[in-house]
């Protein structure tokens, strides 16, 4: 169930300064992602796959090139529009889960909705938001853990909470950066099953991984080598 081009990267270049040297991480990456796709970006450590994912999700800016979402150039968007893009259009899942320790599971899942609303807006929609957050937690088998703090959960549980948080605002693209990288094989497999299930339901997913076995579970594999796409199948 693939739609027209959803997310497009055109000639993306990115470099970082490390001490005295300038390290060129991305050297002209071109990529198109259609709606409903499950794409895995693979490559060795330092190949620039996480950098590419961050640029696709507007967490970072390319030095050169452009990223378009549904034809709209992200570089031309204001800071407010980019915040909205990160809040509504994409959902991030990180290798280290990145949950807020001060909030419980339910509050962590609600965070994107709270961040996107004013106090009044939140008061108006909070019941519906809590209902959706509970549904998501139930969907990922975390309903009983809603009041727990992140440090009371296992790695797999934390990652499921992170996925629930990423899906809270029903984003069009889920961007997952090594979502199983910090988990054992069995737990990571469970997370992959979750992602597969989501994709089957129509969710577009871009996943970064260095593990070929995990990448094989995606419908499309994009291999990044030395800052360019070496293979796309």
């Amino acid at each position: 169930m693939k739609n027209d081009c959803l997310l497009e990267a055109q000639d993306i270049h990115k470099s970082y300064r490390m001490g005295q040297t300038q390290v060129r991480v991305l050297k002209g990456v071109n990529l198109k992602l259609a709606g409903g796709e499950f794409a895995a970006i693979v490559g060795v450590s330092g190949s620039g796959k996480s950098t590419l994912l961050h640029i696709l999700g507007a967490l970072d800016r390319p030095d050169k090139g452009r990223v378009c979402f549904k034809g709209s150039d992200l570089a031309r968007q204001s800071g407010r529009q980019l915040n909205r893009f990160r809040n509504r259009t994409v959902g991030f899942v990180f290798q280290f889960y990145h949950l807020l320790d001060e909030l419980n599971v339910l509050e962590n899942v609600l965070l994107p909705t709270m961040a996107g609303k004013s106090v009044v807006g939140w008061l108006v929609c909070r019941r519906a938001a809590k209902k959706r957050a509970r549904e998501l937690l139930a969907q990922f088998g975390m309903a009983e853990r809603a009041r727990h703090k992140p440090y009371q959960l296992s790695g797999g549980e934390r990652q499921r909470v992170a996925i629930a948080r990423a899906l809270m605002n029903e984003p069009e693209v889920l961007l997952a950066d090594e979502p199983t990288g910090n988990l054992d094989w069995q737990t990571g497999n469970g997370i992959l099953k979750v992602l597969e299930r989501l994709n089957r339901a129509g969710q577009s997913i871009v996943m970064v991984t260095h593990d070929e076995r995990i990448a094989a579970r995606a419908g499309r594999i994009i291999r990044l080598t030395d800052g360019v796409i070496a293979q796309d199948r």
Binding site: S50, L59, R88, F94, H98, P112, A115
Partner: protein
């Protein structure tokens, strides 16, 4: 909503924020106590001065005085703004105290004092004299009639002129007036300013008998003796020929603004002086000034106010330290919470939202610290005199020596406006201290905090 929730959780869960709260609480406590005590001392002092002067004074600095006062008093009392007016003579004298009961009343003291000739009834309408006296509060007209022999000329000395105090400020005062003789001498002057008794000993002396004493609660108590105005007029040479006084004290009716009332009296006096143009001794009228009680007493009041301002400024510097403490604490917290900043930004929070989280946090620190400091300060002030008594008993410590200073209790009346201002400033101080680290947090790029290499 999450901004407030997160700020509350940071406050509760971050132990370092307790240090910031403690710093603010300590600062609020110290400033609150110091300002309350100093403001209380200043307010009490001003009230006492106001109570001894009335609202407005028509006076001359010349010891010769000025005449036509009865006419002016009559005119003044007819004015709609005047509640009461009292003629007064102030002069300097030598007093020699002869006590009949050695040990009970300090005897054998010769000293320079101020004498104030008053009409007790009218003067107590203008001032608080009626409340200061010990034995004649309810029959002020008898204040100069010694109860042991009413026909003798009485006098009302300040309590410190006659009695000694113990270290807790208690006087060795008798239950009723005793027969104490005060020999009072002063130099009489003519209306032209010459010595009235030149070549004849120069001094006028008269014996007065202790009929009551007063306690104004400040330096008047050790340097002033009240006498009947007629007697002082005689002593100072103001009764013969051109009758004179040196001061007219005025009390305005309720609702008359001090400045307006004083301006009205000034206008009235100028008109009166103009009407007396060409009259004998009119030159004495030109030396007369009209001032509000604040201007009249500004030399002594300004001294107290300056001391208060300096002390408050010194203690307000504590606020600067608090800004620095909060700044350091927030730098540490922001450093520890860099991951949270990245997470918030990754879910769409703006820089302003991140700034708000930390400023809310600073606000809560300020609020919690202020609340704790204010409560502790309130409790401390409520018991400050008990604490001082206890420290005096245990460690022989007093804030000031009651044998020297007329102030008895440490003032501890809480002014809610002052407390509100302190809390407002404390919260403002926290926000100021947190501003730079919070701004830094808001400018942090999430990618700089969420990359694996940064964790």
């Amino acid at each position: 909503m999450y901004k407030f929730t997160l700020a509350v959780r940071y406050l509760i869960r971050r132990r370092i924020s307790y240090f910031a709260v403690a710093a603010v609480a300590l600062c609020v406590f110290v400033v609150f106590v110091v300002i309350t005590v100093l403001s209380g001392l200043s307010r009490d002092f001003k009230d006492k001065v106001h109570g001894s002067v009335g609202d407005c004074v028509v006076y001359t600095r010349s010891l010769v005085g000025f005449g036509y006062y009865e006419e002016f008093l009559e005119l003044l009392r007819r004015q709609p703004y005047t509640k009461a007016a009292a003629p007064v003579i102030r002069n300097y004298a030598l007093v020699s105290v002869v006590a009949s009961e050695p040990g009970l009343i300090a005897s054998g003291r010769d000293q320079t004092v101020e004498i104030m000739g008053i009409d007790a009834a009218s003067y107590s309408e203008v001032t608080q004299f009626g409340q200061w006296v010990r034995y004649n509060k309810n029959r002020i007209e008898s204040v100069f009639a010694p109860s042991y022999e009413p026909n003798l000329p009485g006098c009302v000395p300040g309590i410190d002129i006659l009695f000694d105090r113990d270290r807790q400020g208690n006087y060795y005062a008798p239950d009723g007036p005793r027969r104490v003789v005060l020999e009072i001498s002063c130099v009489p002057l003519t209306a032209k300013g010459a010595l009235a008794r030149a070549g004849a000993g120069e001094l006028n002396s008269k014996t007065f008998y202790y009929s009551d004493h007063f306690e104004a609660g400040y330096s008047l108590d050790r340097r002033l003796i009240f006498l009947p105005i007629g007697e002082v007029q005689l002593l100072c040479g103001m009764a013969t020929g051109h009758k004179r006084i040196t001061h007219i004290h005025i009390r305005f009716k309720d609702g008359v603004a001090l400045n307006n009332g004083t301006a009205e009296v000034k206008k009235l006096w100028e008109g009166f002086v103009a009407a007396k143009s060409g009259a004998p001794f009119e030159n004495l009228l030109s030396q007369v000034q009209v001032q509000s009680w604040k201007d009249f007493s500004k030399v002594i009041v300004a001294l107290v106010e300056t001391q208060q301002t300096i002390m408050i400024a010194c203690f307000a510097l504590i606020g600067v330290i608090t800004v620095f403490i909060v700044l350091v604490v927030f730098y540490m917290i922001v450093s520890h919470k860099s991951k949270d900043i990245g997470i918030l930004k990754s879910v769409g929070a703006s820089g302003f939202n991140v700034l708000s989280v930390f400023l809310n946090f600073a606000f809560l620190i300020g609020l919690a610290g202020s609340a704790i400091g204010a409560l502790l300060g309130w409790r401390f002030l409520a018991h400050i005199n008990t604490i001082e008594d206890w420290m005096f008993e245990k460690f022989d410590f007093q804030l000031w020596d009651r044998q020297i200073t007329s102030i008895g209790e440490i003032p501890n009346t809480v002014d809610l406006r002052v407390l509100g201002t302190i809390i407002f400033c404390a919260i403002g101080t926290c926000l100021l201290g947190a501003l730079l680290p919070s701004w830094r947090a808001s400018r942090t790029r999430c990618i700089d905090t969420l990359q694996v290499a940064q964790l």
